[in-house]
């Protein structure tokens, strides 16, 4: 916090600029007597890209899923504390051997066109996902299913060949209307542009590249949402989006750290908007190519981590809006191991470790050498991500202090993947992972996933981790899972296949006229249907 204050003093000019725009008086607020929940008004959200298709099964972009998430439901969902609870399923039981999950579906749920929701829709969704003709990205989890049956309209029983913990969460996938899709080609379905779901909002209008308008579903099974319309406005530039927010044409958007810390602090802004802050589910890391001779020795990887000041990165790049990442599971999750000790920033310790690994002498430029070769490598990152570039630049300078020469190379995303990551043609990459609430990370760390195009592209192979990853995903017993993932984090902290850098905070802002917004481990969106605008403050 201290550093944040010091930074503020460093930029008085900027502050004057911001406060100069906050002179106009805030509009009068109605008294506290009038803030009862009321139906009506609209929530206008800024999004940087248009949705592609509103059949979630076919969509791979976050914009499409954000919109579709309001229109469809899964059988299960995560609650505010990231615990799995029933959604379209009233309840579910897992058999003691972990092989069978039985979903008891809600009765009386209707599709937006009035047709009843039944187990037939669940069966259809399952069959279309695993159909090899469906171009979906989400078939993998469902391939573990050995059998599926619907004894009646409101019961679905799924059996697995072996206990598979991520299975339950996979049933959070949007259930599609069988009566509109069965026997038709899903890739040509009009539902892609005019979806029909069971969710709190129903689709009204989509103007390509401009906006998507949803209307509240008065018959929603958890109750009619207070806010009548949910409008997504497509604004590709974040600076423009911020101006639209200030001008009052948007109600909510994600802020960047600099906007959060510096540009949204005036009293006028804070009287019109509420800012929220909570850890996001992603982390940024520096991944070492473990096939490369330079990074085979774990002492070197430990030394690199010790030479990087993570606090400095958080203050410099994120304006303090984040926390240190220690391992592959973000702090606050049930599988997060709080006892793992991070390698502290200590350039002396880094130098010692490097010396142990044979990097003792320095050449005339002050760069460490071994057998006459200087210690030099390139950090590769993708174009268009300013935070990663700044992070790489700060790291470059820190590593220079301990005598390591770092170059930075920025490559366009498609080329980055195809030419460098997939081919293992890199020394160090800087990237981020978004984690799911379920801690299963088999695909990123298991030694079988090191082939070209697979996600363990750093080539991490550790027999104990392999065993624990399988153990962690093949039981529903929380204690056993916890034990496996705790041990994995200990091994990672020692092995340092990545230098885990930081977990940025999510920084959404919401118009102050919208009430009922609360932060929880799941973020702010979990209770959106309970958000409301008091009658006197409604503007749309």
């Amino acid at each position: 916090m201290n550093t944040v204050r010091r930074f503020r003093l460093l930029f008085p000019a900027l502050f004057l600029f911001v406060s100069a725009c906050t002179q106009a008086p805030a509009p009068p607020r109605s008294g506290a007597h009038d803030v009862k929940p009321a139906y009506g008004d609209a929530l206008v959200e800024g999004t940087i890209s248009d949705a592609s298709t509103l059949i979630p099964l076919l969509a791979t972009d976050s914009s499409s899923h954000a919109v579709a998430g309001q229109i469809y439901n899964g059988l299960v969902k995560y609650d505010k504390n990231l615990k799995i609870i029933g959604d379209l399923a009233q309840s579910f039981d897992i058999s003691p051997d972990g092989l069978t999950i039985t979903f008891h579906l809600r009765r009386g749920v209707k599709w937006h066109d009035g047709a009843p929701f039944t187990s037939r829709d669940v069966l259809y969704t399952y069959h279309v996902v695993i159909d090899p003709k469906t171009p979906t990205a989400y078939a993998e989890d469902f391939k573990q299913v050995k059998g599926i049956a619907a004894p009646d309209d409101y019961t679905v029983r799924v059996t697995y060949g072996a206990p598979f913990a991520p299975a339950l969460a996979s049933w959070g996938t949007a259930i599609l209307p069988a009566h509109l899709l069965e026997g038709k080609d899903i890739t040509k379905s009009p539902l892609a542009r005019t979806p029909i779901g069971t969710g709190p909002y129903r689709f009204k209008e989509w103007v390509a590249g401009q906006k998507i308008v949803l209307e509240s579903n008065h018959d929603y099974f958890e109750g009619r949402p207070w806010i009548d319309r949910y409008i997504f406005r497509i604004i590709p530039d974040t600076s423009t989006m911020y101006m639209e927010l200030k001008a009052g044409a948007l109600d909510t958007m994600p802020l960047t750290p600099v906007q959060y810390a510096r540009q949204t602090t005036g009293t006028r802004f804070t009287s019109l908007f509420n800012k929220y802050r909570y850890p996001s589910s992603s982390y940024v890391y520096m991944g070492y190519n473990l096939r490369h001779p330079l990074f085979r020795d774990k002492r070197i990887r430990q030394a690199l981590t010790a030479a990087i000041d993570k606090d400095e990165l958080i203050h410099g790049v994120l304006f303090g809006m984040g926390q240190k990442a220690v391992g592959p599971i973000p702090p606050g999750r049930w599988a997060y191991n709080p006892n793992v000790k991070d390698i502290a920033y200590d350039p002396k310790h880094a130098a010692e470790l490097l010396a142990q690994a044979g990097w003792r002498e320095k050449n005339s430029d002050g760069i460490l050498t071994k057998d006459g070769k200087p210690f030099s490598f390139t950090i590769l990152t993708n174009q268009g991500n300013q935070q990663r570039l700044l992070t790489a630049q700060i790291i470059q300078q820190r590593l220079r202090y301990v005598g390591i020469d770092v170059k930075i190379r920025i490559v366009e995303w498609a080329t980055f993947l195809k030419e460098f990551v997939d081919k293992g043609n890199f020394e160090v990459v800087m990237l981020g992972w978004t984690t799911t609430p379920d801690p299963d990370m088999y695909d990123v760390w298991h030694s079988s996933k090191t082939n070209p195009g697979e996600l363990n592209f750093v080539g991490f192979k550790n027999a104990e981790v392999d065993r624990l990853l399988v153990e962690g995903r093949s039981t529903f017993d929380m204690e056993k899972r916890k034990k496996a993932y705790f041990r994995i984090q200990e091994i990672m902290a020692d092995e340092q296949p990545y230098t885990f850098l930081y977990v940025p905070d999510a920084l959404p802002v919401v118009s102050a006229r919208i009430r009922g917004v609360e932060t929880a481990p799941a973020g702010i969106g979990y209770n959106q249907i309970k958000w409301y605008v008091p009658k006197a403050e409604q503007v749309y």
């Binding site: 990205a137 604004i235 423009t240 639209e244 498609a414 080329t415 993947l417 990237l431 996600l455 749309y540």
Partner: protein, 328 residues
Amino acid sequence: MTRYLMKRILMLIPLMVGITLITFSVVHLAPGEPVEMQMAMNPKVGKEARERLRKFYGLDKPLAEQYVTWVGKLARLDLGRSFSSDNRPVRDKIAERLPITLALNIIALVMEFGLAIPIGILAATHRDTWLDKGITVFVFVGFAVPTFWLALLLMYLFGVKLNWLPISGLHTLGSDSYGLLRYVGDMAKHLCMPIMVASFGSLAGLSRYMRSSMLNVIGQDYITTARAKGLSERVVIYKHALRNALLPLITQAGLAIPGLIGGSVIFETIYAIPGMGQLFYQAVMARDYPVVMGIVIIGALLTLIGNLVADVCYALADPRIREGRGVQ
């Protein structure tokens, strides 16, 4: 003449084939694939899912076969379906974005010429005075200022501080219920800033061109004669000089026509205008081959037609060209 025209039209066929070949190879030479872009770095996506999608798009077939399929469809005026997850026909995607880009570009073009011509004349007639120098500074500021920066400043001034103009997009929310007049007015307000920014940047080139062309004409003997006859300066400049000075500018206007369907990525992105520039940029970034190739082919076709029309006009004017004797 008919023979000449036939010859020219027949010549378009090999040209078009060449264009399709080059377009197809350049697009496929770029590293990365649409499938990668949609599915890479997603732990939930298995190898098989990628193969499934490649097969769905026909990317598993040999390149030659893909080319023949694409050209075959193209010959039937079918641009194919987009390789993004919406899988919509490319024609629809272009059709919904073309009108706004065309409208914007035409208005901006008219604005540019409408401003650049008087500015150029003014600079030429007041050559080397403070007015001329002032104009030079003004147009070069327009040329040198980065579009995105100017756009943001204007947005802040007119949109946030003064609240005169909407900041971005094309319509106010709820404008669907407006009457026609109010609806058009609302859209015009939205277009003010983008057009201002778009035309300011290109004033420099055109007005300088106009200035030098004007100076060139003013220096000629027939202008001296006109002045010697005792004509007023106004008649000399606007009647005698201007017409001749405008000729090179008309060529410039002709050259700008194929550019009308291309949008500018920068101001479309900043002003949230869903035009061709954004579509093309996003398609390139996502390696959406059919969309990229579709837009390139339409652009190439327009250029070819533009050239053909220009050549026919020349031929009409100059018998030496249509009779193939060549100009010495």
